[in-house]
Amino acid sequence: MHHLHLLIRPVTALSAIALLALAAGCSKSTDTGTAGPASLATSQTTSAPQAKTASKLGDLSAFRTIAADVAAIVDKGDLPAARTRIKDLEVAWDSAEAGLKPRAADDWHMLDKAIDPALSALRTDAPNQTDCKKAMADLLITFDSLQAKL
C-alpha cells in the first residue's frame, strides 16, 4: 500500500499514451473513409440528385428523419407527443455537436438556430399548433437547404 503512489505516475502516463494512440488510430481509419456516411459527403461533388442525404456537415438524414417525424405528429395535432419526440432530436443533435461543428461551423449554427424555435414552440405552456407547424416547416426547409448547398 505504501508504494502505491510510486506506481501511479508510470501507470497514468502509459494509459494516457495508450488511450490517445488507440483513439487516434481508430478515428483515423474512419476518417480515411473505408465506409460510412462521412466519406459519402467528401466523395460526392457535383451530382445534385445523389447528394440528397449529404451536406457540408455530412449525413444529416438521421436528424432530418426525427424532424420529419415530429412534423408529422404536429400535423396530426398531438403536440405533447411531438414534444416528447423532438427531445430525441435535441439529444442526438447536442451529442453530435463536437463531430459536426468542425466540418462547417456556419452551417451548424444555421441548423442549431432552426432547431431552437421548434423546441421553444413545442415546450411553451400552451403550445399552438400553427406556431409549431411553422417552426417545423422552417426546420425542414433549413435541412433541405443545407443538403442542396453541396
Binding site: H5, C26, E90
Partner: protein, 260 residues
Amino acid sequence: MNTLTTPSISNWLNKVPEVTLSFWVIKIMSTTVGETGADFLAVNAGFGQGMTRTAMGALLAVALFMQLRTRRYTPWIYWLTVVLVSVVGTQITDLLTDGLGVSLYVSTSAFAVALAGIFAVWFWVERSLSIHEIFTRRRELFYWSAILCTFALGTAAGDLATEAIGLGFTWGAVSFGSLIAITYAAWRMGGNAVLTFWIGYILTRPFGAALGDMLTQAKTYGGLGMGAMWTSALFLTVIVMLVAVAQFSVGSRRNTQAAE
C-alpha cells in the same frame, strides 16, 4: 517568517496540491466530466441551461466555501472545487457566446486580458505568484480567480479554434497536446515555472475537451463511439482512484510528520 518556507512545513500549509503527473491527469479528466455532467443536466435531464447554471453556481459557492475554510490541502474538496470551477468557467463562456452573441475572438481576447490582469494584481499585492505558497485566504482567492479565468479562456480558445479553422477533436487533441508538450519542454529547459505552469493549465482545457470528444463521439464522426455516459463513468473512476490515492498519501504523510 523564513520557517514558513521550510519544505515540510510548506507542504503542510499549502492549500493546493503539488504539480505532479497525477495532478495533470485529474485536472484534464475533471474538465471533461464536469462538462458532460452539466450537459446531462441541461439537455438529457431537461433542466435547461438557466437552471443548470444556477445550480452549478450554487454548488461552486458551497465547494469554494469548504475549500477556503480547510486549513490544509484536502484532495477531495480541492478537486470537487476544480470540477465545479471548470463547469462554471465553461458556462460563463457559453453564456457569452450562445446567450449574448459575443464573438469568440472578443471573448478569447477579453479573458486573456482579464487573466493577465489577475496575475498583475496578484503579483503587485503578494510579490509572488508561486503556487507552492498558497498559505493565506487572499492568495487562495487570487489562485481560484485565475483558475476560473483559465477555464473560461480555455473554453473560448478551444471553441474559437473549432469555428475559425474547423479544428476537429482528433487534430485538436494532437495540436493542444503538442502545445502542452512544448510548454513542458520549455519549462524543463529553464523556462519560467509560473508562466509555463499557467500556459499549460490553460491548454489542458481545450485538450481535455478534445480528448473527451474523441471518446464520446460516434464513429461516423471519427470518435470511438463510447458515448457520454461510459466516457464519464471511465473518467470518474480514474479521478476517484487518483484522488483517493492522493487523500491517502496526504493523510499518511501528515500522520508521519505529526508523529515526529
